[in-house]
């Protein structure tokens, strides 16, 4: 890798420009091809038959009835499913989840695939799957998080510590002047990207082409190749557009592999698309939580002790434990702090990461508890948060690599109009007689980074192609990464083409953990830097170059040319032409800086302000204004970053007020498994959502100074909305999402207002 080239091109370059997204035109014209849009010749349609029970066995199928449906070609059951090279229940890698691939007749959750019906038409396959009518031997299923026996898992999340402590929380609580202890509940939630999981699988001998949405094509390739016993490079995964993932497409799910196996079984291309109802089954969800916050407060308003304990649910057969308490180690200064978890096992599908895994639910509980503490002390909730600003990371004592939270408080409060907010709840109302409340929450999300590789090719015409298996999942990666590539190569944006979304390209890491721009971008930056170094070596060694003899160290690339500090320049194309080269290529890799990460805490921060209006008769809540101010290091593309932040804030609102997957205790199935009954916000629910970007520079987090904006918007927002509801009504609801009847029936003075 070259030393000495400028880490970032000069001002005026591509990074930082609010350009429109590269994939915009393809998406507004309907030309963007998602997996389910593919129709290879000879295509058959496969439909999953899901289990209707949550625990037990399948005892029989009506195969004859299914096959009697005209157009049904085959039924895949455990009896004839093509063999696998690996047990789908084997833990073959540190982070791998068990899959249900018809390995036996055992049912471990409702919605588990029990068979696949393949037909000439979708209509035939769907009807065949219905006619299969599995018979079951059902066993009692447990789906209630409060009814199961808890235990302490070894780790939470994807390998995070289950408990962390700094200081003696119990001692600090015992001696604190004020104590606040509260319990909060959050519901199970389902990702529900608008695009259901889909797979179009085409076998050619022992090579496999798979069109399927993925947030991590390299991981999917490894997992699928391992299960099938194929060399990874025989599995070609294409995922140019992902119609929303939010974590549900971070790991290959069982149904995607079943589509591939169905294609193998029938020897023809197969398309398998999950129904919306099936999106509530085998592709993961956010675990429900029960969280207890204990705070010890000094008379001066400082937090002496903060303890956050979370109980989370997981499946009986695999381990994913929502790290709901973990975030509390990093938000507010406290004399002593601890975060702990326990878990229960239920007859449900294994939960998985879902936008802000742990942070979303944990932030909701923490921000409510902080508000309740402020109320206990009679302090303004923003003043209380400022007073307890964490100058270093509380759980570790490490300094932050950068932290512009105070500026976020300032910017958000000013835009929102926080000043003058009355302290007492139920103080405000609007002209329609609705109760109005204002709430705040602090947003925080760790700045993660993973490993990635990228390849850059500069052609004789001065245009470049940058390739890596990155993921455009709607977050704007394709655009932001091309901006980074242009600057790394010193080229105008128009000269750079980005190829992503396929497993044949260098492994760019997953689009997860708000890390993709940082991770993949750093790899592109490294590849570009290496390529520029090669170009510089060619130029400085070439007597015909204006830069002949100039040291590499003083060169930089911009506007399609190499530049010396003294005004001399040599265009990229000229360097290649004189060298007689058709193209040059360079590779780059990126990985987190272990030393910097050991010495510093790294996180994006923000402040979210919510205004709600509550119908005093009905308890109906409308979030009339939502303003967030976020500092997330360097912003590669402000237009797209704002969209990400606004989207996250809407998820936060939804977490607080809308979404709950409701398990039917009688059947163990999710009772509201459709988009009519599982409530996600609609246009009418969102009158005003705005995200402000607060400047922040960070030289430690990664070479680009990028922190990530994908998930932070959820944090802070959910709590801000809940706190605003309390401020409007004086009623503190601690079970989320807030049910309007809980609010309506608890609201003081409801009866009095009844004589309109």
């Amino acid at each position: 890798m070259a030393e000495g080239t400028a880490p970032i091109s000069p001002e005026g370059a591509a990074i930082g420009r609010p350009i429109a997204r590269d994939d915009g035109v393809a998406k507004v014209t309907g030309r963007a091809r998602y997996a389910a849009d593919c129709r290879p010749p000879g295509l058959l349609h496969a439909v999953i038959a899901p289990s209707r029970i949550a625990r037990g066995r399948v005892t029989a199928f009506d195969l004859d009835a299914a096959m009697a449906e005209p157009g049904v070609v085959a039924v895949m059951t455990p009896a004839n499913r093509p063999p696998l090279a690996e047990d789908p229940d084997a833990k073959t890698a540190p982070i791998v989840f068990r899959l249900d691939l018809l390995q036996d007749d055992r049912i471990r959750y409702a919605g588990q695939p029990v068979a696949v019906v393949i037909g000439e038409t979708l209509e035939a396959a769907e009807e065949g799957a219905f006619r299969l009518a599995p018979a079951y031997a059902a066993e009692p299923a447990l789906v209630d998080i409060d009814a199961a026996e808890p235990f302490v898992p070894e780790t939470v999340g994807l390998g995070a510590p289950v408990e962390r402590r700094r200081g003696d929380v119990e001692a600090a609580l015992a001696t604190a002047a004020h104590r606040v202890q509260r319990r909060y509940e959050t519901a199970a939630q389902v990702h529900n990207p608008l695009e259901p999981h889909a797979v179009v699988a085409v076998w050619e001998g022992d090579r496999l082409w798979v069109d399927t949405p993925s947030q991590n094509v390299a991981r999917a390739q490894r997992r699928i190749a391992g299960l099938l016993g194929l060399p990874p490079d025989h599995v070609h995964i294409r995922s140019p557009f992902v119609g929303g993932g939010f974590g549900a497409k971070a790991f290959p799910a069982g149904p995607q592999v079943l589509g591939i196996l169905a294609a193998r079984l029938v020897g023809r291309p197969v398309k398998l698309v999950l129904s919306r109802a099936q999106m509530f089954g085998a592709v993961g969800h956010r675990a429900p939580t029960r969280q207890t916050l204990r705070l010890g407060l000094a008379d001066d308003g400082t937090i002496a002790a903060l303890a956050h304990h979370a109980r989370v649910a997981s499946s009986r057969f695999d381990d994913f434990f929502e790290p709901a308490a973990a975030l509390s180690g990093g938000v507010y200064a406290a004399g002593a702090v601890e975060t702990t978890h326990e878990a229960v096992r239920l007859d449900i599908a294994t939960p998985v990461v879902m936008r802000g895994p742990g942070e979303a639910t944990g932030s909701l509980a923490l921000e409510c508890a902080i508000d309740e503490a402020a109320a206990e002390l009679g302090l303004d909730p923003l003043a209380f948060r400022r007073l307890n600003h964490a100058d270093t990371e509380p759980i570790s004592g490490r300094p932050f690599s950068s932290k512009a939270l105070r500026a976020c408080y300032d910017a958000g409060a000013a835009r929102f109009g926080w000043a003058g907010r009355p302290l007492a709840p139920r103080s405000l109302s609007d002209s329609d007689g609705r109760l109005v409340g204002l709430g705040i929450g602090t947003a925080v999300f760790p700045s993660m980074m993973f490993q990635a590789e990228a390849r850059a090719l500069l052609r004789a015409d001065g245009a470049a192609i940058v390739e890596l298996g990155a993921h455009e999942i709607g977050q704007g990666a394709a655009t932001a990464l091309r901006q980074i590539a242009a600057d790394a190569l010193g080229l105008p944006l128009s000269a750079v083409t980005l190829r992503t979304g396929a497993s044949d390209l260098p492994d760019a890491g997953g689009a997860a953990g708000s890390s993709h721009t940082a991770t993949a971008g750093s790899a592109i930056h490294a590849a570009g830097t290496a390529l520029v170094a090669r170009l510089a070596a060619l130029a400085t060694a070439d007597p015909a170059s204006p830069l002949h003899g100039a040291g590499n160290a003083v060169l930089f690339a911009a506007d399609g040319a190499l530049h010396a500090g003294d005004g001399r320049r040599d265009p990229h194309a000229a360097v290649l032409a004189r060298a007689g080269l058709g193209a040059i290529e360079a590779r780059g890799a990126a990985a987190p800086d272990r030393a910097a990460r050991a010495s510093h805490a790294m996180a994006a921060h923000g402040a979210v302000f919510a205004e709600v209006a509550v119908d005093p008769d009905l308890g109906a809540i409308r979030v009339t204004r939502l303003v967030g101010a976020f500092a997330a290091g360097r912003i590669v593309n402000p237009r797209l970053a704002r969209s990400q932040l606004v989207g996250g804030m809407i998820w936060g609102l939804s977490l607080a007020l809308h979404e709950a997957a409701q398990f039917d205790p009688a059947t163990g199935a999710i009772a509201n498994a459709d988009l009519g009954a599982y409530r996600i916000p609609v246009h009418a629910d969102l009158p005003f959502v705005e995200a402000l970007l607060v400047a922040e520079e960070d030289t430690l987090v990664n070479p680009l100074g990028v922190k990530g904006v994908g998930e932070i918007g959820i944090t802070g927002t959910a709590g801000a909305v809940a706190n605003a509801v309390w401020h409007a009504t004086g009623v503190r609801i601690r079970r989320f999402p807030i049910r309007i009847e809980d609010l309506a029936l608890a609201m003081p003075g409801r009866e009095k207002e009844d004589d309109a």
Binding site: G244, G676, A684, P687
Partner: protein, 181 residues
């Protein structure tokens, strides 16, 4: 790979020769004669699986998400809830028919400009719904009316404020919704 079995022989293809019907419809301004082998086929599956028009998306197949919104005789419908066989003589307009000569329709351009999309899966439905909204209800720029009129079109990424801003921009009502008092 040796341990994978040989593919099964595929049952002879033709779904029982259901008496095929033929419908004539105008699709994006072009008259088409479409043979239908199965009355169960919805307009959405006709477009996507038989006519190769995959712009309309299947997000729920129950009329609950709006991703399959198209115009039927000039009005918005969920294509997943319309049987193709009922469409003899109808006019259907899909996202593929919008714009012309390589130019974007103003709504399409406004969606790009306002970043009124993220993953893009709901986008063709949002745009067709916005088109229907303007046709059905006129150019009333009241954002609350637009929000109500677009609420049948779900978006999971959270592009809603930008979508409303894009529609208002096309109406000529300015491109930012002012913060309410």
């Amino acid at each position: 790979m040796a341990d994978l079995p040989e593919p099964l022989p595929v049952q002879s293809a033709a779904p029982e020769a259901a008496e095929a019907s033929i419908i004539g419809l105008t699709l994006n301004g072009v008259t088409r004669v479409v043979p239908l082998d199965d009355p169960r086929v919805t307009l959405l599956d006709l477009l996507r699986e038989r006519l190769g028009l995959s712009g309309a998306k299947k997000g729920c197949d129950r009329g609950q998400c709006g991703a399959c919104t198209v115009l039927l005789d000039g009005r918005r419908v969920n294509a997943c809830l319309v049987l193709a066989v009922t469409l003899d003589g109808a006019a259907v307009e899909t996202i593929e028919g919008l714009g012309g000569g390589g130019a974007l329709h103003p709504l399409q351009a406004a969606f790009v400009e306002h970043d009124a999309l993220q993953c893009g899966f709901c986008t063709p439905g949002q745009i067709m719904s916005a088109l229907g909204l303007l046709a059905e209800e006129g150019n009333d720029p009241d954002p609350e009316r637009i929000r109500a009129g677009m609420s049948g079109n779900l978006c999971r990424c959270g592009a809603h404020p930008a979508i409303v801003a894009a529609i208002r921009a096309v109406i000529g009502a300015g491109d930012r919704s002012e913060m309410p008092e």
